[in-house]
Amino acid sequence: MWVFLASEAMFFGSLITTYMLYKDRTANGPGPTDIFDIPFTSVSSFVLLMSSLTMVLAHDGAVKRDEGRMRLWLLATAMLGTVFIGGQVFEFTSFVSEGMTITTSPFSSSFYLLTSFHGIHVTVGILFLLGLYTLSRLGRLPMEDDIRVDMIALYWHFVDIVWIVIFTFVYLIPVG
């Protein structure tokens, strides 16, 4: 899993580089300062951060062999992830209504590509979490020696950390 995440880091690294290159190229369309709603995005970032906490709790449940607790926190994590995705969808729709679509400018293209790839990663993570939940419900998740919970937890934290980087580079630096 570490090996795979190293590769993912290169992936997001390249996307963020493209964005940094293009953040001021707005082709007379709206730019970062015109459009970002920092308080709103801070809240949804906070939600995602909290999901890392619940993931830790779920993992802890797994380590302690307490399946009930693990399932509860898995669901909570998936919920928070869904809220975050909901926030992203809302944000995208409001940007579009303010006249910034993916074709407006190099800035808008790189913004949407970067954030939606992150969104896809979160969605995949949610699928993983639900998969774990189902397996556990079916009694097919042996609590001993199972690395699947570890790997998915690691993945989830990674996606969170990437978001912190994105939030800093995409939202805070251009505006601040």
Binding site: V3, F4, A6, S7, E8, M10, F11, S14, L15, T18, L21, Y22, R25, T26, A27, I102, T103, T104, S105, P106, S108, S109, S110, Y112, L113, F117, G131, L135, R140
Partner: protein, 642 residues
């Protein structure tokens, strides 16, 4: 033993047949997957070769009229893409799959089903790319597909969509393999097989996998951006909207330069296996060879912009990249020195694998030297986009990479198929290929320096290029003859070839300690490794002068009950599975959907219903493959009772 009475739902059942078509479609055995990789890549080698012959027919003399300009562009692009992504990389992957696990004393790869998925994605991705010919236009923007040139406005038609999506599919395949190789090497080595006892080929597999791991995602981003520009109308490369005209070049070459080492390091690994065996000496400076391989890989990430000297980066950047590029020559030189020193004073047997290995060393040296000449930025201004470059990269890719692959084919063939290839035909194969290769590509140094541009479909008479081009074409057909000799040899070996013993070459590494062909479970007992060249050391002791003396026969091979299968021995092997194939089909169908989504280009408002349908179908297939994969039992209940 097997009980058939256990009830289970039909879909989640793991297929149990290991032979016949179903056996191949569902196999997760690293050896079978290796063979599939090799056969498929060889078929693509013929396709790419025919494309090359067509190009050379067109350029045999001035004012050729075999091909139109448009077809010419498609052919050289598809030739390059095919040779790189569908021949060299998967051919080396074939050896990595087959040989590496045995060399390190493992029973299979770490993730057998993921391994199968990689193969199916490679096969389907290759067919996907080539199917573009059927849809009216193959990619025509060169193998590096420079944007903005490759945008819809300048290159309409589906060709470049097939390029961007096809490489994406192949990239997923390679990325999954890379993870698989790394985890296998880190976790599944036999007891005693420390990293510094690992055979060099396995080492180069390890290094190559890391290169793939870090280089591919950068290409993936570039390709996503290109696809988005072409289909959705985004502005990553649209200079009119203020995009950067060389962003693509940077992204591509950050991937592209490591890519050339991805293609050559495995062949270096093969040569480092072959030379010691046929010189009957250990590899000279093992640690130096391994370290040099790692160094090449590492520095390889810092030199990409030497492909962009002519793009106007400025003198400081050009100087920096020129210097770092020349530094790479140092570890490469170390390797060449070590190979020569390995042969020095050895008892050399000039068999076919050995000849190809020596051919690699000689020709790669020439290609390396011409490479150093264009690491010097002012030189490169003169040489770039001429036939000199074409000569250079064929010396490294064909003279190096492909010769190494042929060395590997001749070397491991008996292990893989249990029959020997004919030596006389092998030597004929080598000499015709050697002569043909040099005849085809050496003159290109001349025509290039005399000013002939590359990627030109026609040239006028009276430029002094006629003779050189004619020689190149004759050479190309000589190579084609050599390939035919190989095919004859392979077919003949299959029919009447002499049966191979477990250790026909008097080898040094673990794969030669088991029968040929390798039994399904690789090793009857997990080997315990005591030294580098462990297998050799169980066969030979050193006398007082350090010369090898054979240990009395019977000590090494006990020949016990070879016909006893894995199950009777209580060895657990992973069961076959359909899901890797299903997942790969899903991804490919999504690929077609993307290509057909916007046939009129991003500026139009038309979305094709067919494209959407394909995407939906593909996603459904992918998801069902994914869930089938996750939910299928790890082993067939009742299939073995351990």
């Amino acid at each position: 033993m097997a009980t058939t009475s256990i009830e289970r739902s039909a879909t989640l059942r793991r297929p149990s047949s290991k032979t016949g078509l179903v056996g191949w479609l569902t196999t997760v055995d690293h050896k079978k997957i290796g063979i599939l990789y090799g056969m498929t890549a060889f078929a693509f080698f013929i396709v790419g070769g025919i494309e090359a012959l067509l190009i050379r027919m067109q350029l045999a003399g001035p004012n050729g009229d075999v091909l139109t300009a448009e077809v010419y562009n498609q052919l050289f692009t598809m030739h390059g893409v095919t040779m790189i992504f569908l021949v060299i990389m998967p051919m080396t992957a074939a050896f990595m799959n087959y040989v590496m696990p045995i060399q390190i004393g493992a029973r299979d790869m770490a993730f057998p089903r993921l391994n199968a998925m990689s193969y199916w994605l490679f096969l389907l991705g290759g067919l996907f790319l080539n199917s573009s010919f059927l849809f009216g236009q193959a990619p025509s923007g060169g193998w590096f597909g420079y944007a903005p040139n490759s945008l819809f406005a300048y290159n309409p038609g589906p060709g470049m969509d097939f390029y961007a999506v096809g490489l994406q599919i192949l990239g997923i395949a390679s990325l999954a393999s890379a993870v698989n190789f790394i985890v296998t090497i880190l976790n599944l080595r036999a007891p005693g097989m420390t990293l510094l006892r690992m055979p060099v080929f396995s080492w180069m597999t390890f290094v190559t996998a890391f290169l793939l791991l870090f280089a591919l995602p950068v290409l993936a981003v570039g390709l996503f951006e290109l696809t988005a520009d072409r289909i959705l109308g985004t502005n990553f490369f649209d200079v009119g909207k203020g995009a950067d005209p060389i962003l693509w070049q940077h992204l591509f070459w950050v991937f592209g330069h490591p890519e050339v080492y991805i293609m050559i390091l495995p062949s270096f690994g093969i040569v480092s296996e072959v030379l010691p065996v046929f010189s009957r000496k250990p590899l000279f400076g093992y640690a130096a060879v391994v370290f040099a391989g790692a160094a090449i890989a590492f520095i390889g990430f810092g030199v990409w912009a030497h492909h962009m000297f002519a793009a106007g980066l400025g003198p400081i950047a050009n100087t920096g990249f020129a210097l770092s590029s020349m530094v790479i020559a140092v570890p490469t030189g170390i390797k060449i020195f070590n190979w020569v020193a390995t042969m020095w004073g050895g008892r050399i047997r000039l068999t076919a694998p050995m000849l190809f290995a020596i051919g690699l060393v000689a020709q790669f040296t020439i290609g390396g030297l011409s490479g150093v000449t264009h690491a010097i930025a002012p030189h490169d201004y003169q040489q770039t986009d001429t036939y000199y470059i074409v000569a250079h990269f064929h010396y490294v890719l064909f003279g190096g990479g492909m010769f190494g692959i042929f060395a590997g084919l001749y070397y491991w063939w008996p292990k893989i198929f249990g029959r020997m290839l004919n030596e006389t035909l092998g030597k004929l194969n080598f000499w015709t290929m050697f002569v043909g290769f040099n005849l085809a590509f050496f003159p290109m140094h001349m025509s290039g320096l005399w000013g002939m541009p590359r990627r030109t479909y026609i040239f006028p008479p009276g430029m002094g290029w006629d003779l050189m081009n004619l020689l190149s074409t004759i050479g190309a057909f000589t190579i084609a003859f050599a390939v035919l000799v190989f095919i004859v040899n392979a077919v003949r070996s299959h029919r009447v070839g002499e049966e191979a013993t477990g250790d026909p070459w008097d080898g040094r590494t673990l794969e030669w300690s088991v029968e040929s062909p390798t039994p399904e479970h690789n090793f009857h007992e997990t080997p315990i490794v005591h030294s580098r060249d462990d297998w050799w050391n169980t066969k030979y002791e050193e006398d007082t002068q350090g010369r090898p003396v054979r240990v009395p026969a019977g000590a090494a091979d006990d020949g016990e009950q070879l016909d006893v299968g894995a199950r009777e021995r209580g060895i657990h092997l992973p069961d076959p599975s359909y899901w890797p194939l299903v997942v790969a089909i899903g991804i490919t169908v999504i690929g077609y959907g993307i290509v057909f989504l916007r046939p009129q280009g991003p500026a139009s408002n038309q979305w094709s219903a067919g494209g959407i349908l394909f995407i939906v179908l593909g996603v459904v297939t992918l998801l069902s493959g994914y869930f089938g994969w996750v939910l299928e039992p790890l082993e067939e209940p009742g299939g073995d009772d351990h």
